[in-house]
Symmetry: C2
Subunit: 224 residues, 2 copies
DNA sequence: GTCTATAGCCTGATAGAC
DNA sequence: GTCTATCAGGCTATAGAC
């Protein structure tokens, strides 16, 4: 359903407009300060008309959460795409995600914190978040397989520790330097040290297939 | 001024009551959902009466921020008090702070995040936060002096990295497991690993006065 | 899909009586 | 320091005309 008839195309455009305005309103008035009346005002319609597109304020939050999570996931994957597999891909992905987070602070707060009591994202809206975690786990497993990290990095504890590092970096930067860029931020610019810490905590095991640092444990790598 | 006449004592008590109720309201309705009317309702007075104690809603936030920061600092120092100086004191302090954070989530959000657009804590309210940072820096310097950590740990970068670790642990736990305790939380229970990571990143230098681990062998210095 | 009208709340803040 | 009265709005949401 919802094929590309002109009517439905127009409807989609309006929904996208509403979402973009809602993000602006959150940027101005805080995530919790999102109001349907203000969105309607900026869109040039009356508040009741919004109910043709979203059945309630919480439904709007849910859609914002779902779309934000989805966009973050895409940016994350896009960041990984250009880099070598394993740790380099993961680092590139986190950096791309960090730039997006600094450019989309209201959405990031909605995704990473819990600023709206009474709002629980629906399972559907939460799906990209689960995919995100899998993505990280997969990249950590790649890194372990490639001998860039020890095997523990891809276990539950490793994934949790990694998420703490990333969340801490984003949180501190958003709270204490929201106007600084990812590259220059007092906290986000420490990303390389953060990754170094993680690597030191899960160092590659001795005999692993480390194609990235072949000089370390000089072994003739058998050609396959 | 403000000596202990009966009148002023009573006034202080009322102010304390208002602050306690305000914290409850934030716990129920979110940090941004704090309303003077609701506070008045729960206190059993009419909203205008509140203005005898606080000149505005933002002033109430400022006082909540100042008191919260102060209490957190006291808990932090109290946690350090019982432990050996240096790293053990720092670890005990962070753990005490973490337990307090889980028990005072609304206040923690006000202190660590920026949920209220338009609210900037006054310099006065911010003072304990500065003292807090000094406290951490001092403890890291102690740890370096005692040979528990390398000297870089107490430099600006080390303090920032440490704050990222702590903020990440708190943030992830508050956002993803607010009902779990500090000891059992999926993220906060990883505190020992977090500290281990930090120590690995700033390992004690060779000839330092390491009274705590005199047996330890040389470690490679962090890559950089 | 837009509107008007309205219900039924809510808010922060001030003036001024007591 | 408490109150009433009031200003001057704000909000989500629904009913129903067009």
């Amino acid at each position: 359903m919802a094929l590309g008839t002109r009517r439905e195309l127009r409807r989609r455009e309006t929904v996208e407009e509403i979402l973009a305005i809602a993000i602006d309103v959150m940027a101005d008035d805080g995530v919790a300060g999102l109001s349907l009346s203000e969105v309607a005002r900026r869109l040039g319609i009356k508040p009741p008309s919004l109910y043709k597109y979203f059945p309630s304020r919480l439904a709007l939050y849910d859609r914002l959460f779902a779309d934000g999570q989805q966009r973050y996931l895409e940016v994350f994957r896009g960041g990984a795409a250009g880099a070598d597999p394993g740790l380099p891909a993961l680092i590139a992905a986190v950096e791309a995600g960090g730039r997006w987070a600094m450019d989309n602070q209201a959405l990031t707060q909605l995704l990473f914190w819990r600023p709206i009591p009474g709002f629980e994202p629906s399972a559907e809206a939460f799906a990209p978040s689960v995919a995100m975690l899998d993505e990280v786990r997969r990249m950590l497993a790649d890194a372990a397989r490639l001998g860039q990290l020890g095997p523990g990095a891809a276990a539950e504890e490793g994934v949790a520790l990694f998420s703490i590092l990333v969340a801490g970096m984003f949180s501190q930067q958003l709270a204490n330097g929201p106007h600084e860029s990812f590259a220059d931020g007092r906290f986000t610019r420490l990303a390389p040290q953060i990754f170094a810490m993680f690597r030191q905590h899960y160092p590659p095991t001795e005999g692993s297939d480390d194609r990235r640092h072949p000089h370390r444990a000089a072994q003739p790598s058998p050609s396959r």
